[in-house]
Structure formats: structure tokens, C-alpha cells
Subunit: 546 residues, 2 copies
Amino acid sequence: RFACDAVDEGLLTIEEALLTIDASQVDSLLHPQLSRPITEAETVVRGVAASPGAARGAIAFSTEAAIAAAKDGIATILVRKRTEADDVAGFHSAVGILTSTGGKASHAALVARGMGKPCVCGASQLTVDSEARELRLPGGIVMREGDLLTIDGSSGAVTTTAIPLEEPQLGADFERVLEWADSLRRLGVRANADTPDDAARSVRLGAEGIGLCRTEHMFMSPERQKLVRAMILALDSDRRAQALDRLLPLQQGDFERILLEMGHRPVTVRLLDPPLHEFLRDPIEIEERIASASEAGNPALAADLGIELARTLELQEANPMLGTRGVRLSLLHPEILSMQVRALCRASLAVRPRVGTTPRVELMVPLVAFESELSLVSDSALAIAAEEGLAGSEAPLIGTMIELPRACVTADRIAERADFFSFGTNDLTQTALGFSRDDVEASILPLYLELGIVDRSPFESLDGEGVGELVRVAVERGRGAKPGLQLGVCGEHGGDPDSIAFFESLGLDYVSCSPFRVPTARIAAAHASLRGHPADQSEAGLPSPD
Amino acid sequence: RFACDAVDEGLLTIEEALLTIDASQVDSLLHPQLSRPITEAETVVRGVAASPGAARGAIAFSTEAAIAAAKDGIATILVRKRTEADDVAGFHSAVGILTSTGGKASHAALVARGMGKPCVCGASQLTVDSEARELRLPGGIVMREGDLLTIDGSSGAVTTTAIPLEEPQLGADFERVLEWADSLRRLGVRANADTPDDAARSVRLGAEGIGLCRTEHMFMSPERQKLVRAMILALDSDRRAQALDRLLPLQQGDFERILLEMGHRPVTVRLLDPPLHEFLRDPIEIEERIASASEAGNPALAADLGIELARTLELQEANPMLGTRGVRLSLLHPEILSMQVRALCRASLAVRPRVGTTPRVELMVPLVAFESELSLVSDSALAIAAEEGLAGSEAPLIGTMIELPRACVTADRIAERADFFSFGTNDLTQTALGFSRDDVEASILPLYLELGIVDRSPFESLDGEGVGELVRVAVERGRGAKPGLQLGVCGEHGGDPDSIAFFESLGLDYVSCSPFRVPTARIAAAHASLRGHPADQSEAGLPSPD
């Protein structure tokens, strides 16, 4: 590697060598690459380069097909119009993902980047007909399930040509560069990790802790979804408590494995965040089941499904992003909060002998807008932790995500009850700009890029003037009220080099990003340290706040 | 009236007399009242006092029933579980509205207050069975369509007892008090008015202009909805242009009548704001029509409806509040912008001879987050106005709503291209707090009031610490960049006395509220002038901004 050679030959200092490296390219070094680029002639269609690396496999039009093929040892490319939560199992089984709609912040792109799977999104010239199990390409070409495709998530190109893949060459030079970066950076780097596998990968890639562990991702596997559904649909608190009692040991087991992987490193666990109806079945699917049950002469089942349908419709919201989610769930359903805190405390105690000390757990309350939301949840979480035997210096730290504009401007008050802040810049971007990510990515952002209203997606690189200004206000007011307040970032921006430079300029303590972006963040954080410091914001690459 | 007598007898000065009046009670003086309160024993059910005044009428379970009864001269109370856009025609026909769900900021409450109709919302002990046309009350009582009810929108009580109503007694004393208020207040008072009737009522109640004319409300009548649907569903711009050509004279006619009513007073016209799918039919309704068409052996109609369904589903959004609406519509569909600007300019020119001068039109661009959104729309609107013959000093003023947190923190940049700002505090509350009004009113706000997290609905009275702080920042930055910038408020808070005191403390130029709240606002504005001024915020009744 050039940088290492230059240092060895005395041509460059470590600092100079590090600055020759483009942090945004580091990501792609960690994934299998094509041995040569796909030529224009070979390209059958082009989409958005949504998650780097290349993959070749047989087309699978459904999660089921991808899982079945994986069992037979067949590599697949999961091909969908768009992906949703229940496709995630298919992501695990596939070697790459291809969609005909959506952009860099679509569900497919986010999940693929989180898993480090190559992904091409929004290849809009494709017609994905999942029912006919046909993929129609421009020029009347039709491909069927099992046909082979190669996708390059670094360029967005898709081809039927078989181009050999090369495994990523990390080796000693790369490790050496990362060590230089670690010795020079001020910002800590953590990972967003929801599973023991993610946690192990995070440590391997150099994360100093987990900055965001999304507990709802532990509710996603099919068997657990059933329990979660039962809990949500329960009409009385007794039945809800029963369902929660069965979820508790499962959640505890997940926490134990994650805490063991992380050892002495801090682990930030976020309380249940998404609107509950995300865990429920599609009303249309329930209606179909009701029809089948009636036809099959099973009126009891049909009646049960009728109740499920009514409750599902009741929980639907006009704007779920701004509805019953985050801390609101903990206040509305204290029994869920209680289950989660107990599971976490019991996991801490269970792994303590093996870790050698009580794990450093940071309990994070999402979507706080009012300081009293945090104080109410904090009081009850601490009481539960004490019941479980974790009090005083052993009690979990309790902090909050700062992801609403109101939280930014009232950060001084919120800081009084918070052990830490973590900026949720994804949701802060959605609320500050009035941009529903699911909606504007496809309809508005392409036009805005074309008109020059934005020069990059604000979901990829932080909008410094708007969202960044709100973050700056929150930092100023939060630290004004509590000087030593720990400040991190756990939005997607935590892995974006330009955004990292901005966070350095504000003096945050750490960034947290998906495990595969940890090396990028380590280098970008070193660049940010080398190029500027809080007093010198003009180097940050983003307009200086205020 | 006591205040007038006291002044006449020399006991109080005008200022002192004015301060004895409770501004929040003024509203109820303008509506029919019960001659005596409903007793506890008479109360069959109690809901939220959502729009003041009392009404007695026959139960109507649908808009159709209310309209039919009105034709026969029968007064009705429209009784619904909740109301939606297509119930608005029923509001006009009914004398009062009663719902079993929703609170003070529900659709029913907002529309009722806007129209000055008494309304009781969220009477949750009622079961409204619109299909069986039955209203089930506690204690097993069942009422049917046509049965008589009395509702008191000032107390929330509902009774079957016939209590005589009294017409509001405004008279000379009240007018005198309002004149005192006008002589003492600094803040201007405008009205939110969408129709010629609203405009006439606004002037009658003392509004100095229109602060918000929502052009989409002109698209709501059944015949026009058809044209609007054709415009939205058009697959090519030719067909869209055809539909718009037919809408233009209708919109122009509305503008003409409104401008004539307002004469020399300023009229702020907001460009089309809501997501387009609000104008489309419910997908389930379309599916039913497809089934009927197929059964009736009309495959051509079924195919057309199939296209409508596909396009309707395509336009649906996960979070419409944060989706394709506001200025985004004008940028995505410049032909809609063009139609609206032409209609407005032609209306101005048409009424000019009768008004004696070119009407003072202020064109307002909603949901701006980026200064270049405003400059792009402003450039094209001014070019179109010039084509229509309105240039230079005759061109409409062009300003923007400030209703997104990003707009508040970048107000200095936006001010450079704006002739005025109008704070849209409804949407600013939704985005700053992450509160979807449609969702949190029923599920979260009651709990938050109970837990003491909020002491009033932030949709009723401005959240001073959060939303108010963002408004303060925008005022400071906007006026910093453009000292004479005209600043108004057109959210619901423009008619709330405590919020008016806060707006006075920030030195805004005017508030705008629904016509029936104009007298309240005139008195509250005088109180705010008497009690404090921008330099003395501690009197404002809301925590002083930072």
C-alpha cells in the first residue's frame, strides 16, 4: 500500500500519509470486488450504488427462495421491487440485493449497508414481476428465477457477464494505517449493532463500543414476531404481561451474548422505538386469512382474526413517524419498559462473572421532546434496576437520543436528567426538514439534486446549515447545563466522512455507525483531528454553524 | 356591560376596563348560548368542549342526511365517530357537530371552530353506529336518526332536554370595547379565510386583512374535485394542462369574489399545500367500484378505474405530513403553480376597476426548508405575473410560511428572498415536537396531560419553550438579515390569547386566526400591548425565550 511505503521510505510523515487516503473509499476495500470493471456494453441496467462490493448469484424473487437456495449452497441475488422488514431474513441468505425502486436511504440500501452486503437500488428500467417470477430488462430480455446476475454495489452496474470476484485484501498495511488513525483521532468510534454477530464484527473492525443497539431488531425473527404480536394485540394487561414474560428471557439471552462480545466496552441499548403496528400483519393479509378461515368452515379462527384486524386498524396512524413511538411507548405501556430494563439488568448480572466487572450499559430513551418524559422513564428504570440488584455506581447510565428539534432547543433542561446525549441525526433530518425518508427519497430528492437545491442527500451527508445548526445549539445548551455531558451520534451520518468532520468541529465524544463503516470512521476521525479542531470550523468541509 | 358602565361612571380608565375582560371568553359571546346551563342530571354524556356555543337539532349520521334535512328546513346535529374532508358539506348544513373520538385539534373541532359552529368532540362513552343509524348512550339508551339532541360546545355537555337558546347579544357595548382594543393594540389582526363568505365575515368582525387563504379549499366542492382528480391522475402534461385550464377560471372567480370583499386590505394567498392524494378517492372505494363495473359487464370502466387505483396507490405516502406537499408540489408540477399565479393575477386585474387600485396580494409559499426553493418559485411566479401584466410595484409580494425547524434556523438566508414571513405554528408544532396531530391527539396527549408532561395541548396554546424558541430564532435571524421584514402568524395559535401575548413579546406584525376568533384576538392583542412589550417578556405568560 502506497501510504505505508511512503512512510517507510521517509517520504511522508504518518500524518501526511494518512491524509493521502480517501476515507470515503475505505468502505469498498472491505468487500469483495470485481477483478475488472463492468464495461458499458456488458451493463444490462444501472441503478444506484447503494452498498459497496460486488456479488454474483442466482436470481431469487423472494426471501423464501433465497433461504431455500442458501440451504442448497446456492448463492443468490435477492431481486425485489422494494424490500420491507420481512425481507431481512432474505438479506442474510443472499449475497447481494437488487431493487427497481428506492435510493441510497431506502430500506434495502440501509439494511444492506448495515450487513455489508453489496446492493444496487432503484434500477428503474427493471420490471420485477414477483408473481410471474420474471425480471424484465430493457430490450425485451426476460430473466427467470435461478438465472445468474452480477451486481456491483460500488458502481451501480448490473450484468449477466461472469466477472471473477476478488476477496478484499486488508492485510497488515491496512491495519497499520488504521492504527495510525487511532493514534491521531480525538473522536471515539462505536458501532450500531443489534446482534451478537454484529457485536463481534464491530470489535473486529475496531469499534470501541456499541453506540446503538436497537432492541426492536431482536423482535423480528418469525417465532418472536408471534409473541410480540400477542403482546401488542393483548386487550388487557394480564395477557400483555403473559406475552412479555415469555419475551423477557429471549431478550435477556440476546443482551447476554452481546454484552459478552463487548466485554469492558460500553454498550448503548435503545428502548423499543418503532410504532407498534410495524410488528403487526398487513390488514389486507388478515382479511384474506379471514376469508380462507370462513371458507374452510372455521368461524372461531375467523372471529379471532376479526379481532386482530380491528386492533391492527386501530393502531394504524396517519403519520407513524410522528406518532406513537419512542419514549411515548414506554410511557403508554410501562410494562414493556419494565420487561426491557429487567432483561438488560439480568443479562448484566449473568455475564458479570465472565466479564469480570458489571458491563458498562447505557440505556437510551428515544424521541424525547420534553425533559419530564426522560425523568419519568429514568425514575422508573432506575427503580426497576435497583429491584434487580443494580443500584448506585452499578446502575445503568440513562441518557437520551436527541432527534427532535424541540429536544435541541431545550437541551439545557434535558441535560439535567441525562447521563448522555446521542444525536439521532436520521430522525432529526426528517423532522427538521419535514422530509419523510420513505417518501421523499424517490419523489423529491432526485428533483432537488437536479435543481441544485441540495448537493447531496441530507440522509447521507449531514445538512450542516439546518440539522447541523440544531445539533450545535443542543451541544451548546446541553454542555452549558452539564459541562461533562457525554455526546455521541448514532445516525447514518456517524459513518460519513464529511459529517464526521462536522461532529469533530462541535467537539462530540464519539460517532457510531454500522460495523462495516467503522474503519472508514476511524480514518475520517483522524482526518478531522488533523485538519481542524473545534475552534477552527472552516476546515470542517460544511458551512460553519451560525 | 360592566366594562362600559365602569368607564362611563369614571370608575375605570379604558385601559383598566379592557383588562377586566377575559379574552378567552369573548369567543363564546359570538355564538348562541343556552339560557341556563345543562345540569348534571340532564347530561347524558360529556365530551370535549371543542367549539363554543350551543345547538339543538335532529341527529344526522351522515353528511347526506344533514344536507337532506336542511333542504326540508330541519336543524340537525351531525353525529359521527370522527369527521373527514368529505363531511365538510355536512358541517355547513348542520347546526352543531358531535363526535365520539378526537380532541380540540381533531378535524371536527378545527372545521367547526373555523365555521363558528358549536361542536362537542371525543364523547367516548357514545357508540356511533352509522350503518345501523343508531347512537348508543351509556345505560343502554339507543337514539335514532331524527331524535333531538342539545349540545353545548362551551362546556362539552350533551343532553336530550330541550333548553331554550339565546342569540348572542353583541350590541353597542361590545363594539365599543372592541374599538378601545383597536386603539390600544400594536399587533395587527387578520383572518384565515378561504371563501367569499369567510372574507365578508372577517371584515364584519374587524379583520384588517386575510392572513391565510388556503387555495386547496377551493378545490373541495364535488364538481371541482372531479377536475382536480383528473389533473392529478393525468399521466401526461398535456392532459394535466387541459384539466388545469378548466380549473383556472373557477379559481380566478373565487379569487375575484374574495378580493372584492377585502377591497384595500391585504390578502395572503397560499399556494396549493396538501399532498395530492388527499384529493383522490379511497383505494378501497375504487376497488369496490371496479368490482361493480366488472359485474355490470363494463370492462372499459373497470380498466379506467384500474388505472385510477394504480395511480392512487402510487401517490400514497408513509408519512404524508412530511411528504410531497407544500412548495415541493410547485417545484414538481410547475403547471399547477402557473395556473394558480395566473388565476390570482387575472382576478386582481379584473377587480381593479371596482376596488379602485390593484389589490394588495401577498403570495405565500408553504413548507419552505431551503432558501432556493423559495427563490425558484418566486422567480417563476414573478415571471408569470409579469406576463399577465403585473410587474414592478404592482407585482404580488412573495413570502413564505415558516413552518419547518430548518426554515427557522436558516431564516436569515430565506429572508433575503422573502417579502414577508408567516409562521405556520401548526405544522411547526408537529415537526418540532414530532407530533402528528392526527395521531397524538387521541393517543398521547391525554396521557401527557395526565402525567403533567404538558399542561395544555401544544396545538391550542403555543409551546413557548420549544416551538416559541424556534419562532424567536427565526424572528431574530430574519429581521437581522432584513430589518423591515413583515412577520405574521397564521396557525391556530393566532387566535389564542396566551400565544398572542407571546407573539407580541417577539414584536410580530400581525396574527391571523379564524374569522370567529378575530374579536378575541383584537382584545388579546390589546391586553398584550397593555401588559408588556418586546423588551419585557416576563409579562407574556409563557417562559421567556432564552
